[in-house]
Symmetry: C2
DNA sequence: TTGAAAGCGATACCAA
DNA sequence: TTGGTATCGCTTTCAA
């Protein structure tokens, strides 16, 4: 039924003009009929609608957007949609955006910095604002997002050019360590993020908390951001420090991998090894035993980012760094 | 640094015209400078670029799209981004679209049919094609997507108006049942999808396979599409049929819930209860024991959908129903 | 109730 | 190397 180009002829776009001609009216009348404006005769309207349908007419979003400057589209850039943490944030952002009638274009950078730039290049001319995770240098970010509101998530340092939502896990991690200490643990290890050269902020929170309890903070090993990475890291850690009885991890995925590995090597959790993750993924409730975690409110994270975009876009009353914070708190499962 | 409206004045858009005036050149020269065309003096170009920067100029995507009819945006509609199955499909679709330089606007309908229509209404004027899961009646779907390519996923019946990717799990389910039978199981239950009135196609595959082995196919109970739903359903099933020693489930999420419930009630998996899911989620590898599943190639699913969109969009050589199939195959973990 | 004309903000094709 | 003009497809005045 849909007519397609038969003999190599380009299927030239059906415009409002074609509909007008076919219905024997002017373009503006077509516009009225299509947009449900009043001031139009019922019969005429029907005739126009029929003609439009017959021709398979679809208004150009560009032409329409050009005239009624209203549609807002934001670009959401995340490193990996398959990582449940980002998925949760994305879902929250999508929901908050939908509530405002905005569209969200999602870009998955596959965790590669070079993809980020490519994405930004493309995005730059396609969205009204950008929200996301970026690992590329700020000056490049700045270069590619000129004049556009940008809200960074979970990126600690930033220039005045950007808004950024800070993840504050200091208290949560402290509570986690306190919980472990109270349970009698004295040798607490950490499976940190290994990708970056310097230790993560989460590790710094851990060392600070450990210090306040007189715990040795040096039982740390880097882990790849995956379940397998967590398993491998746990093995490495225990090989070096067999006396470790509890671990904190950079995130829940790593923790889940550690859980699995512990089971393999016959360490019962939490009896022989207590495990506390970070992020508070819904996924944590599905594993055995249910994961304890320093949990983040991902819904709030996504909603906050979108809220700030809204403020930036209208220019009214943007939130300051003090408000752009999501605090993590210890949520106990059964793994610690 | 970003100038915003100070005294209630609308922050009128900076156009190419403003830049031209500020740089003392014509609009076309500005366009040349911005788009890296040749035929422009280096000095002039720099002057224009500086002016643009100073003014915070950003080209209108609508105006640009209007004249260079090239950008393609597709709408991806999924019921729930938090459901790992849809996430996997979405990730695959995103990747395939990116490879083509397309943009993907993602809409989460929160599993509600009425949201689907609202989404379609909005989407209709914002994208060039639609890919996704829909549960609303076909005629409504048709109404809201007039003249636009639509690729449905995993929806069995469909009018000629749409393309649809069929999920064929017949052989996979048969293999699953064969595997269970070979292991000595004779009482095999199924935790089906409960939302719909009629039993699912997956259940039909199960009954067909069961029949060929002389297995009673009536040990079925509906489950909510969640881990908790799986647990509840398993409880119900075992209460009615305590002699069941193996189950198939509508999907992996339900299976994972069943796994957890089995553990709670002291049934060891797979010794006391064999479990086989459906979907083959990556998540299945994280639970204990690793889930056996009738696995779908979600990457292919997403890629295939995007491929068909491409064909539909250009009008060349669209795939037929026979090609639009993704077959599921049994992938054994340790749960059966 | 309808239509003519004037934009919306950019790019393309000429001519200068 | 530049600038004028037409054009993309649609909506919005303003007249008729």
């Amino acid at each position: 039924m849909v007519s397609s180009s038969v003999s190599g002829t380009e299927p030239r776009r059906v415009t409002i003009h074609d509909v007008a001609r076919s219905a024997g009216v002017s373009r503006q009348t077509v516009s009225r009929a299509l947009n449900d404006k009043g001031e139009i005769d019922g019969t005429t309207k029907q005739r126009v609608l029929d003609a439009a349908r017959a021709l398979g007419y679809r208004p150009s979003r560009f032409a329409r957007g050009l005239v009624r400057q209203d549609t807002t589209t934001i670009g959401l850039v995340i490193p990996d949609l398959l990582n449940p943490f980002f998925t949760e944030v994305a879902a929250a952002a999508l929901e908050a955006a939908r509530a405002r009638g905005w569209h969200v274009v999602v870009y998955d950078t596959a965790d590669r910095a070079e993809e980020e730039l490519g994405t930004l290049q493309v995005i730059g001319s396609q969205v009204d604002a950008v929200v996301g995770y970026f690992s590329c240098p700020e000056d490049e970010l700045e270069l590619f997002t000129r004049g556009m509101p940008v809200v960074l998530i979970g990126r600690e340092h930033h220039s005045a050019r950007f808004s950024s939502i800070r993840i504050d896990g200091e208290e949560g991690v402290h509570a986690a360590v306190a919980h472990l200490v109270a349970a009698g643990h004295t040798r607490i290890g950490m499976l940190d993020h290994q990708a970056r050269a310097e230790p993560s902020v989460r590790y710094e929170w851990f060392t600070a908390a450990a210090a306040s309890y007189g715990i040795d903070p040096d039982l740390v090993v880097g882990a790849d951001q995956s379940a397998d990475g967590g398993g491998t890291a746990l093995r490495t850690l225990l090989a070096a420090h067999p006396d470790v009885t509890a671990i904190l991890t950079f995130n829940d995925i790593i923790a889940i991998g550690a859980l699995r590995e512990a089971r393999r090597i016959g360490r019962s959790v939490p009896r022989d090894l207590a495990v506390i993750g970070f992020d508070g993924l819904q996924l944590g409730a599905l594993v055995e035993p249910p994961l304890s975690s320093v949990a983040l409110d991902t819904r709030r994270l996504g909603a906050l980012a979108i809220d700030q975009v809204a403020r930036l876009l209208t220019g009214v009353d943007p939130l300051t760094a003090d408000d752009l914070v999501v605090r993590a708190e210890l949520r106990l499962g059964e793994s610690a």
